[in-house]
């Protein structure tokens, strides 16, 4: 179970965004993707997630996929428990266990609007956890949170990853977050006119 990415070219119109980007993420690995905003980090994640198929190259995903988005991205009209069950297909007991795992035990009947922002983020993480993913995508999940909440969520995410050991791609612009979670880091730079220059380099 792993993720193979080989992108020759991804452009929006005539603007190249990603070019000649080749990497592999194995099970248990956490690859942090860093870089300035607008460089194509989120585009890369959308390609990997299969949300955007308009590119040249090949992406091979093996196994189940889960994603934690920048926003909690919950169904506000379904209870916390149903938000887990309906998206991941787990039964009520497993969903309850996932809620407990992120510290939301007993909150299953509440609607997302009745949860605090921090709790909504936890629910979003619980959804990814309940999916038992082989590939986990994190799209700047801690952006715009206050420091205490970031520390909280980082610790929780770290322990969830350690427990399930998915192949993880973690998009962030924060070096300390990357240092904390990642086993490898990749910095994306702008695609230059010269196609010989790699847009991604490993460090």
């Amino acid at each position: 179970m792993s993720l193979n990415v080989a992108i020759r070219d991804k452009s929006f119109g005539s603007t190249p965004v990603l070019r000649d980007l080749v990497f592999h993420v194995a099970r248990g690995e956490v690859l942090a993707v860093l870089g300035p905003s607008g460089v194509g980090k989120s585009t890369l994640l959308r390609l990997i997630a299969g949300l955007d198929t308009d590119f040249e190259g090949q992406i091979r995903r093996e196994g189940r996929l889960a994603m934690v988005f920048q926003e909690p991205t919950l169904m506000p009209w379904r209870s916390a428990l149903d938000n887990l069950r309906l998206t991941t297909g787990v039964d009520a007991a497993q969903a309850e266990a996932a809620l407990g795992r992120v510290g939301l035990a007993g909150k299953g009947a509440l609607f997302p609007g009745q949860l605090s922002l921090g709790q909504q983020r936890r629910l979003s993480l619980a959804r990814a956890y309940a999916a038992r993913p082989d590939i986990l995508l994190l799209d700047e999940p801690f952006v715009s949170l206050d420091d205490a909440l970031v520390a909280d969520m980082l610790a929780l995410t770290e322990s969830v990853i350690a427990e399930q050991r998915p192949a993880t791609v973690f998009v962030t612009h924060s070096r300390p977050e990357a240092d904390r979670l990642a086993t490898r880091q990749m910095i994306l730079g702008p695609v230059l006119a010269d196609p010989c220059l790699l847009s991604g380099k490993h460090i």
Binding site: A49, G50, L51, L65, M67, F69, W77, R127, L137
Partner: protein
């Protein structure tokens, strides 16, 4: 600024218990009183006019209504109209829903169909009805088709607005987590369209029954519109009011017993 806000808040909490705010009436009581007021208004107008040939008051119309109900004629015509309303409603809502969602989600289709929409939106109901009767014949199919054609463009416009406002992030989430087509429809799409559906259903129902009446007025031998036509020709204002009022009561019942509970259920998550 913060201090001011805090002080206001303090006064509010202090005031609680000291000042006993008047408890507002329950919604159902307000509704009943308001309708009684309307009845009183009608009675007052009839009393001022003092000519039951022109404007009979409720004390004349209501007994005639119960007589008509006892004879069974009222139910026959109400039933005929209600059945037409139901068929046209289902046809217009389902076709308009599909068209509206497609046009909202596919900008290219929308560019092609939008002029048609404007055309049909501005086609007078009367023209559609007359043409349907001429082309299809003076029958039930023509009646239902005419009403549906009148209503479909309106449903389409409202559902298109709903489809345009759909949340793309939720759609992405559903795709990433591999939700089934049916699951996406039930848990992602329909809940977002529910408010639009509710208001479309409400305005749709009241518009459709008015058009059904015109259809019946022009070319049906049964139904509220037919009876109104009959009594109009005999200048029997009382019976015109009996039939109009009866159907309004039916619509009020549908609104309170079906539409409102449905809407409350769909809105539960907002009020929680």
């Amino acid at each position: 600024m913060t201090n001011v806000a805090l002080r206001d808040y303090g006064q509010m909490t202090d005031g609680r218990g000291v000042r006993s705010a008047p408890r507002p009436l329950p919604a159902s009581a307000v509704r009943a009183l308001s309708l009684l007021g309307l009845l009183g208004f009608w009675w007052g107008l009839a009393w001022i006019k003092a000519d039951p040939m022109v404007l009979p008051g409720p004390q004349i119309v209501l007994p005639r209504m119960s007589a008509e109900a006892a004879s069974g004629a009222l139910w026959l015509h109400l039933g005929a109209t209600l059945w037409r309303v139901a068929q046209a409603f289902v046809a217009a809502m389902s076709l308009g829903l599909i068209l509206g969602i497609l046009m909202g989600l596919l900008p290219r289709l929308n560019r092609w169909l939008d002029p048609w929409l404007v055309f049909f939106l501005n086609l007078p109901a009367l023209v559609v009805i007359v043409l349907c009767f001429l082309w299809i014949g003076l029958n039930e199919t023509a009646a239902i088709v005419a009403v549906a054609i009148n209503k479909i463009p309106l449903v389409t416009v409202m559902m298109r607005e709903g489809a345009r406002a759909l949340n793309g992030q939720l759609a992405d989430m559903a795709q990433v987590f591999g939700m089934s087509r049916m699951g996406r429809l039930r848990h992602i799409l329909l809940p977002q369209l529910a408010p639009h559906l509710a208001s479309t259903a409400r305005s749709g129902l009241s518009l459709i029954w008015k058009i059904v009446l015109v259809v019946e007025f022009l070319g049906r031998g049964q139904g509220v519109g037919f009876k109104i036509h009959l009594h109009f020709q005999m200048f029997d204002v009382g019976m015109v009011m009996v039939y109009a009022l009866s159907f309004i009561v039916v619509m009020l019942a549908i609104e309170t017993l079906i539409l409102q509970p449905l809407e409350r259920r769909a809105r539960r998550w907002r009020d929680a």
